[in-house]
Symmetry: C2
Subunit: 312 residues, 2 copies
Amino acid sequence: MTDEFTRIAKYFAPLAGEAGRGLLDDAAVLTPPPGREIVLTVDQMLESIHFLPNDPPDLIARKLLRRNLSDLAAMGATPLSYLLTTALPPHIGESWLAAFAEGLAQDQEAYKIHLIGGDSSSSQQHISLTATLIGHVAPGGALGRNGAKAGDEIWVTGTIGDAALGLRARRGQLTDETGFLTQRSLLPSPRIGLALAGIANAAIDISDGLLQDLGHICKASGLAATIHAALVPASPEAAAFGDAFLEARLTDGDDYELLLAVPPANAAPLRAACGHLQVSKIGNFDNGPPEIKILDEFGRLKTFSKQGWQHF
Amino acid sequence: MTDEFTRIAKYFAPLAGEAGRGLLDDAAVLTPPPGREIVLTVDQMLESIHFLPNDPPDLIARKLLRRNLSDLAAMGATPLSYLLTTALPPHIGESWLAAFAEGLAQDQEAYKIHLIGGDSSSSQQHISLTATLIGHVAPGGALGRNGAKAGDEIWVTGTIGDAALGLRARRGQLTDETGFLTQRSLLPSPRIGLALAGIANAAIDISDGLLQDLGHICKASGLAATIHAALVPASPEAAAFGDAFLEARLTDGDDYELLLAVPPANAAPLRAACGHLQVSKIGNFDNGPPEIKILDEFGRLKTFSKQGWQHF
């Protein structure tokens, strides 16, 4: 394996934007866009916890950025740049690094962001990756989890549960004929760039599972929620499994769709803001303790064994 | 071990500043101080690589913050806030977490910073910690590594090599009667708050070893350097070992003192800016290829087997 400084010069310095000063300094310097607030988020991906050891390195890199971009999307922020921390075990070689850097380059291009700094270390055994993403919003324009109001409708972007099924396909527990579900599990599409300020009262990205992330909004906003299982949008590939994996689709993470609290009067502006992106109403917020009722197509209460993925 | 959300609510939310929004959102929102540039740095600490498994958790927390604060100090930045990422194995219990959070609280107070966000995950076996520190500088006021000029003097703050000896004491390789060297290894003192803009042409913090970090300035500035081993300041505790550990003192990391390139005319302003903090001239930058000559007290060339700590 190449040494730390050669590695930075060869693979990471070419990814650096102006604020990264060639990755040659102790820290990055960022000139905030005039009149904007800065939004900061950090997420880590650990081998065997967040990705499998043989996942393609370029997809690991892109998922690392996209998980963080999804957090910026949930805040209504525009991405700007990022810091990258790697801890790599001795067996990681040039080809892994080259593919990893290529994945970063690809999504830097796709999302108009640049690497501005980071930290590189060795690890004993497992790959550990952390990205800090920096974005910006209009002052006061950041969406939070605590702004939902009783009567707001619950909307979600895209389709829910593809990543849960994709993970099971990668584990050999089901067959993913088209590869779509696997792809959704390996490489999410963060919903960056939707102009949701003034339309949604609250937002979160679905990273821990629909029910758990909805629960975060309920707790932060002090509201109860009701969702209709039949309204939770499924991709054709997921729908083909019927209700066989319904609990997994609602409680597993990694979809990186947005879950929104939207006043009924804003449904049309929401659809307009989402353009070609599918957006679906799945339920409502109500006054009451922060609990979630899930109803089947006959209005009967459904219960599940768990609400989402927690890191213990 | 408590679950992720209980852990955040119990130990980390109390550390959150206003911009952290109670750690309830997907990301932190930061209003940049008017007319200032933002400085961002990230550093990780991994069990068995950067700290020993039985190190006191409060000192691990404080060292994590201080390593990053030292990078801000090297840029001439004023600290503002931080993001924290933890990956903790299942055996980590409440008492470890409580002590870790107490250490964070203590240095938040000491350095006037607040936790504004982060990420919490499980790990399989080892503790992995990452902090992203955010600071600010006057526009154009950030110190870099590439500004040194031929003829500049090389100055260092504090004393050099205490952490190298302290690490050896912790490993039982030498006796540290007063505990001073051990303390310097466990808990650095980042040189935050020195008004070095306009005084130093370049700066770096000594985290990888004096020679290696000096080498970074040489490379970035395109200069050669000469240092006089006898001028490298030793604490009384380190001086007691004579030259027995000279190579370790010059090549091991973790001192977190500042190394500065200072025009001769600025020596007096430098001393004034450092106040009670010891600051010592140890050599000069010259035109030439980026190499470092180390001279003994008779002006003879010394050679060492390695220049500093590299991660592979």
